[in-house]
């Protein structure tokens, strides 16, 4: 492998459109993924702004209920499949080869393809909003029979899901192939950085769960066009079967979004605590147990469908059990900070906010896991608050932390620390004003996915909307900071952060187009994350 890479040593890096369209370079593809996900973050965010504007006060002011429903649906699909997942893959592309001392991803051409089919997938999805009958409007969960009432957009929705699935599966295969075959000599599995570990486990989750989703949506397709009745009671099928299959994918999907975030936090907290990660081995085992358990808890998303009580009990116990390994992770991060020498640069601030706010989302998750009480919480704003705490102040905050952390390595310049901190505080305050009152709304009885509500919910909705607009606007600052950093600023050293460990900090900043064409010699100090 290394001799092959050597032959390319003296090539100039390609330029222009060709560089980006035909790229097989893990850094370029990583950049493409990250830029794409940021664009999707803003498109999905614009939809969230429409939702919050409509909910600003009771009554219908801006959009019709059908369009509102499609905003709710497409916002979720774009944020999950277009923003958070590609951002995770982008980071994996950039950082995994650098972290394990590999010259590139194992399957570079497939890497190019898994990225470049994404824009087409999302073009299909977004085009449905302009079709006869409007875009998908039955929720991102696509439950039949409602989803079958969709007009011309229906087949496009199904093919979008297929395309995104294909892209993610290829990305996952690539990560597994890279990590298992291309580690530098001496980089044993239990010496890999935790970010690499969490991504390998995520990749297995992707490969195991996405084909299940593809199967479920294909069954929808045949139910609609080819006369099958998988999900129609009138034809001997069962609409709840879809929910079981969907959530067998859907729950691991939650961890597909969360595990890379755990890896990021486990990288950043030790750096700024100037202290090795506490309980490395238990972190790996906790991540693996979460991943395995995630296949046995799916029906907690559907406690109200009327399962037999034994089923409800099983899924309640399994769900509560997940809080044990998750707790271990939180305690380990705390112990890493304990007796460290902490500084609070932007990545560290986002990471600390992650630990606190993700844990709050975990607490409401534990409450939701208790079946008899979930009958009250289910499908209310309490659930909306819960999953936005784990996905926005959880996954997205971790991604923000990662961008600030590795931006010096990517661009060769330090970002503007003062602006970064302002962005952090604006985001954190706004996100809490946005989502914390939604707990109250849910407990007071406001269902989710409604375009209009009773006047008793008016005050908290207005507060929540104000938080929403503030959060949306603050993210423009993030774009400004990133662009400013890409264009110039204080030069970043190879070791951009004083306490940072790992191979990525041994290469210059910005990281050259080709790195580790010959495997690095590992020293013990390099591996003390």
């Amino acid at each position: 492998m290394s001799t092959l890479a050597h032959e390319h040593d003296h090539h100039h890096s390609p330029s222009g459109l060709k560089r980006w369209f035909f790229s097989t370079n893990h850094k370029d593809i990583g950049t493409l993924y990250l830029i794409f996900s940021l664009m999707m973050f803003f498109i999905g965010g614009a939809m969230a702004m429409i939702i919050r504007a409509e909910l600003f006060q009771p009554g219908l002011q801006f959009v019709d209920p059908q369009f509102y429903n499609s905003m709710v649906t497409v916002h979720a699909l774009i944020m999950i499949f277009g923003a958070v997942m590609p951002a995770g893959v982008g980071l994996a592309n950039w950082m995994i080869p650098l972290m394990i001392g590999a010259p590139d991803m194992a399957l570079p051409r497939m890497n190019n393809m898994s990225f470049w089919i994404l824009p087409f997938g999302f073009a299909l999805l977004i085009s449905t909003l302009f079709m006869n009958g409007g875009g998908p409007a039955g929720g991102w969960t696509m439950y039949p029979p409602l989803v079958l009432q969709l007009g011309d957009a229906f087949p496009f929705l199904i093919f979008t899901v297929h395309i995104l699935g294909v892209s993610s599966i290829m990305g996952a295969i690539n990560i597994i192939a890279t990590v298992f075959n291309m580690r530098a000599p001496g980089m044993t599995l239990m010496k890999m950085p935790l970010f690499v570990w969490t991504w390998v486990i995520t990749a297995f989750l992707l490969i195991a769960s996405l084909p299940v989703l593809a199967g479920a949506v294909t069954m929808l397709l045949t139910d609609k066009y080819f006369g099958t009745s998988f999900f129609s009671a009138a034809g001997g099928g069962d609409p709840v079967l879809f929910q079981h299959i969907f959530w067998f994918f859907g729950h691991p999907e939650v961890y597909i979004l969360a595990l890379p975030a755990f890896g990021i936090i486990s990288t950043i907290i030790p750096t700024f605590s100037r202290k090795p990660l506490f309980g490395y081995a238990s972190m790996v085992y906790a991540t693996a147990s979460i991943a395995i358990l995630s296949f046995f808890v799916w029906a907690h998303h559907m406690f109200t469908v009327g399962m037999p009580i034994k089923g409800e009990l099983f899924f309640m116990y399994a769900t509560m059990l997940i809080s044990v390994p998750t707790g271990v992770k939180v305690f380990n991060w705390m112990a890493t900070m304990w007796k460290g020498a902490m500084t609070f640069e932007t990545p560290m601030l986002f990471s600390i906010a992650f630990v606190i706010l993700f844990t709050i989302g975990g607490f409401s998750g534990l409450m939701l896991g208790i079946t008899p009480v979930d009958f009250q919480y289910h499908d209310t704003y309490f659930v909306v608050a819960h999953f936005h705490y784990v996905l926005l102040t959880g996954a997205v905050f971790a991604l923000m932390a990662a961008v600030y952390y590795w931006l010096p390595k990517w661009t060769g310049y330090m970002y503007d620390e003062k602006l970064g901190k302002i962005h952090f505080w604006l985001s954190t305050i706004a996100a809490n004003v946005l989502f914390f009152p939604q707990h109250f709304l849910g407990l007071a009885g406001m269902p989710r996915r409604i375009p209009d509500y009773n006047i008793q919910f008016a005050d908290f909705n207005m507060i929540s909307s104000i938080g929403g607009f503030a959060y949306g606007l603050s993210q423009l600052l993030f774009v400004y900071i990133v662009i400013k950093c890409a264009l110039g600023g204080k030069k970043a050293k190879a070791q951009a952060w004083e306490g940072a460990k790992g191979l990525e900090w041994t290469v210059p900043s910005p990281a050259p187009f080709h790195t580790f064409e010959t495997p690095p010699k590992l020293t013990k100090a390099m591996l003390e994350y």
Binding site: Q66, F278, G306, F331, V373, Q376, A444, I455
Partner: protein, 377 residues
């Protein structure tokens, strides 16, 4: 805006106040009006208290560390990286806590699951977008639509203010009347897509799934009116199909059933009589608002690409299409549900007449109940 600031201040003082007060402001779950809803509330408070205490401890330790173990205080970082004892402890303690939560939760779930020995059975059937209630023992069926005032206030037009209506989107034309202190079995199912039946004060919600029947029970202790909503997205009218339960004493319930049956028979008989154009149009407008407006809109323009316009529609103006017009209403077509079962001949005659004469359709056609009867198979 002032009420917002008031709420904000209330939230700030939240932690200093007893929990009962908090519920009044809509910050917490209510304890409801049934023995089960009280137990569900207690379970909620137990788990909320447990996570709050864990949160205070964990975040407290973290903030202590953030304050003391910072580089600016000149500390040197320790280099320890594991401790088996500590790791075993913080795996075991959470395990014990969740077992402690699982035991009462299991007991409660078993109790909620027991629908035996109920004195009365009501079948709630979800429709896009209304509820049908069948009192199985009393052989009575009612349809429950969003109230007219909410329909008017929920249009996307200028000059309507939902703040005028206390029960905006939480009121219906026909509430579900139930006797108090009686174990009532409530079956949920649906006619078209999945809905969910939820009245928070009863302490549970359950999906209404086409082709399947879920059973649940309740026993309401206090007379009163309890409001809830559909909680499973079911299309554009999802936010507009509330559930209202009116709990009355057993005697009042029996009187209500008798009166309801009598009035339904009277309406059915009256619906067969000939009506004047004026009567047809007045009645037609009421029926239209309750059943058709959600899709075809107040101005008859529908929603382009989803729900066809009635104003100027070939079916609603061409005389040779009267039959088609009536059968569409009776038996439905594509997304349009069948109304034959829900509406009597007089209502369908009136709404057909209304649709053929409103919004400039002006056909002058008068459809009578007998015309509808002729089209029923």
């Amino acid at each position: 805006m002032t009420s917002i600031f008031k709420k904000l201040i209330q939230v700030i003082f939240l932690l200093t106040l007893p929990l009962g007060v908090i519920a009044e402001w809509g910050l917490n779950m209510g304890s409801g009006v049934t023995p089960i809803s009280q137990k569900v509330y207690d379970m909620h408070m137990i788990s909320l208290t447990v996570v709050t205490v864990i949160g205070i401890l964990v975040f407290g330790v973290m903030f202590w560390s953030i304050f003391h173990h910072r580089k600016s205080r000149g500390v040197k970082p320790a280099q320890f990286s594991h401790s088996t004892t500590v790791e075993v402890i913080w795996t075991t303690i959470p395990l014990i806590i969740i077992i402690g939560l699982a035991i009462p939760a299991t007991k409660l779930l078993i109790e909620m699951d027991d629908t035996s020995d109920s004195a009365l059975t009501v079948k709630a059937v979800g429709y896009q977008w209304k509820w049908k209630y069948e009192y199985l023992e009393d052989d009575l069926t009612i349809y429950s639509n969003l109230d007219e005032k909410s329909v008017e206030l929920s249009q996307r037009v200028d000059g309507v203010n939902p703040m005028e209506h206390e029960n905006y989107l939480l009121d219906v034309d026909e509430p579900l009347v139930l006797p108090t202190n009686t174990k009532i079995r409530i079956l949920t199912t649906a006619n078209d897509v999945i809905h969910a039946w939820w009245v928070p004060d009863l302490g549970w919600k359950r999906d209404a799934i086409p082709g399947f029947i879920n059973d649940n029970w309740t026993m309401i202790n206090e007379p009163g009116t309890y409001r809830g909503q559909c909680t499973e997205i079911c299309g554009k009218g999802h936010g507009y199909m509330p559930i209202v339960v009116k709990a009355v004493s057993m005697e009042e319930y029996k009187t209500w059933v008798a009166e309801k049956k009598e009035s339904q028979e009277a309406t059915a008989a009256a619906s067969n009589k000939e009506m004047s154009m004026e009567e047809l149009m007045t009645k037609g407008e009421v029926v239209y608002k309750a059943n058709c407006l959600a899709c075809h809109q107040a101005n008859g323009q529908g929603i382009q690409g989803v729900f066809p316009a009635l104003a100027g529609s070939q079916i609603a103006i061409k005389p040779e299409n009267i039959k088609t017009h009536i059968t569409h209403i009776l038996y439905g077509k594509n997304l349009m549900p069948a109304f034959g079962e829900q509406l009597n001949d007089g209502d369908i005659a009136a709404v057909t007449t209304y649709e053929r004469n409103a919004w400039g359709n002006d056909t002058g056609d008068m459809i009578q109940a007998s015309d509808i009867k002729a089209e029923r198979k």
